[in-house]
Amino acid sequence: MVEAHRHDSGGSVGIEFKHVGKTYADGTVAVADFSHHVPSHGTVAFVGSSGSGKTTLLRMVNRMVDPSRGAVLIDDEDVRELDKVRLRRRIGYVPQAGGLLPHRTVVDNVATVPVLNGMSRRAARSDAAELLALVGLDQSLAQRYPAQLSGGQQQRVAVARALASDPNILLMDEPFGAVDPIVRRDLQDQMLRIQAELAKTIVIVTHDIDEAFRLADDVVVLRAGGVVAQAGSPQSILASPADDFVRDFVGADRPGRNLRTVDVDGRRLVVDGEGRPVGVLR
């Protein structure tokens, strides 16, 4: 398994899931026994069908969920030994639907954690303004309230907010699930740019295998109960799915994945199994 290999060679930095399990109060076993290493500055994506335990795993990192068994280590330190509130302030978190505070302006939303950490409001706001620029938002939006933004703009603010305390780790739970496909692609582009620039350790949860392939170096496909079906690079997963479940999940047999080329107006178009165009071949 690729995962095991990484585990050995990854060394001591990054995030380490060590045989973690979670049974909720009502008896649901969300995660049975999960181990994985996320290298420092790497981007890992957890994908899997609904209820497979992705969110549960993600939230173990910032102790929004405490594992019933096993441990999560950040840079070799068991998170359970750290104070919850302080831990969370040094980890960025982007929830699915933004989760912005509706009664604070955009800039104050971004400044929230620095202010909690004791930075002056003035300094925090000026930092926030820079972050807004980084995520591609115009200064003119800084004084608006979240409801006055489009869904895509809200997600950008959520990303800026998560970056505000300059965290080493960024957790993203279906961060672009609520926006339409065009905006989604824009946001993905922006994430790639930011990651190239800032090199955070990122854990991203998504339903969308294409999104996982685009954003992550390392993709973990989960089955129910947090069982790893396959883990590895996007290329290796698409080229050699471990089993039928993964093959089905990444759609390796979908007409959309089975491409051929056609010539239209003198250009070579790539079309899928149904003849729908996918792109232009260079």
């Binding site: 919850k84 978190y93 699915q96 639907a97 933004g98 979240p146 489009s150 703009q153």
Partner: protein, 228 residues
């Protein structure tokens, strides 16, 4: 409708406004009893409601409690309390407090619960302590609904505070009882109109406050469409 004209004449008669039994004094007393009852009721009700709303525990018990208190006939409660406590403003005040509790309680927990759970979750994940979540997120977001509870409670208390005159010489209720017993119906109706006017005034005031608070929490969306 003659009686209505007589009542209005009574209200606009300057002599109704003077002395220790004058409208001015009685209005002030009525207002004081109302405010006192709502404030006293808020002392246990709002924190309890906030606690229930924040922890999402004990909602069933609190709803049942509020329902039961709501079902208590105020007249009966007042009677029992008066038999226990004797004359004075104590018994009616306590009965009014009981009247105000369910609305305040419901307003508080509904307000806190109304805060978008995603925003609350995000606040927690950002590293806000539970108290900071209540203070900086849930209370500001729930303030409008909470004020709605205060408003409902005030409206009920102000109308029912007439009962204070049953056992003490307090408030506009005095005109009702005097009018009823001495068959001076214009005076009685005048009292009722004054109570209603006071109630509406307070209601408008609180409604404005509520609107402000709601607006704080929920900015109206502007049309951010590119094509628009």
């Amino acid at each position: 409708m003659n009686i209505l004209l007589d009542a209005l004449a009574w209200i606009f008669d300057p002599s109704s406004w003077t002395g220790s039994n004058g409208v001015g004094v009685r209005l002030a007393q009525h207002l004081a009893v109302t405010v006192a009852a709502v404030l006293i009721a808020a002392v246990p009700a709002v924190p309890l409601g906030v606690l229930v709303g924040h922890t999402r525990r004990g909602r069933g018990a609190v709803t049942a409690l509020a329902g039961a208190v709501r079902a208590v006939p105020t007249l009966g409660l007042l009677t029992l309390l008066a038999l226990l406590m004797g004359v004075g403003v104590g018994a009616p005040l306590l009965a009014l407090v009981a009247l105000a509790v369910p609305s305040l309680l419901a307003g508080a927990y509904a307000g806190i619960e109304a805060a978008d759970p995603v925003a609350v979750d995000a606040a927690r994940a950002m590293g806000m302590s539970e108290w900071q979540i209540v203070r900086d997120v849930e209370l500001p977001l729930g303030a409008g609904v909470l004020m709605g509870g205060v408003r409902a409670a005030t409206l009920q208390v102000v109308a029912t505070a007439t009962l204070a005159a049953y056992t003490s010489d307090t408030g506009l209720g005095r005109y009702l009882f005097t009018g009823l017993k001495s068959r001076d119906y214009p005076q009685m109706l005048a009292g009722a109109l004054l109570v209603a006017a006071l109630a509406l005034l307070l209601d408008r005031l609180l409604a404005t406050l509520q609107q402000r608070m709601t607006l704080l929490a929920h900015r109206p969306a502007v049309d951010a469409r590119p094509g628009a």
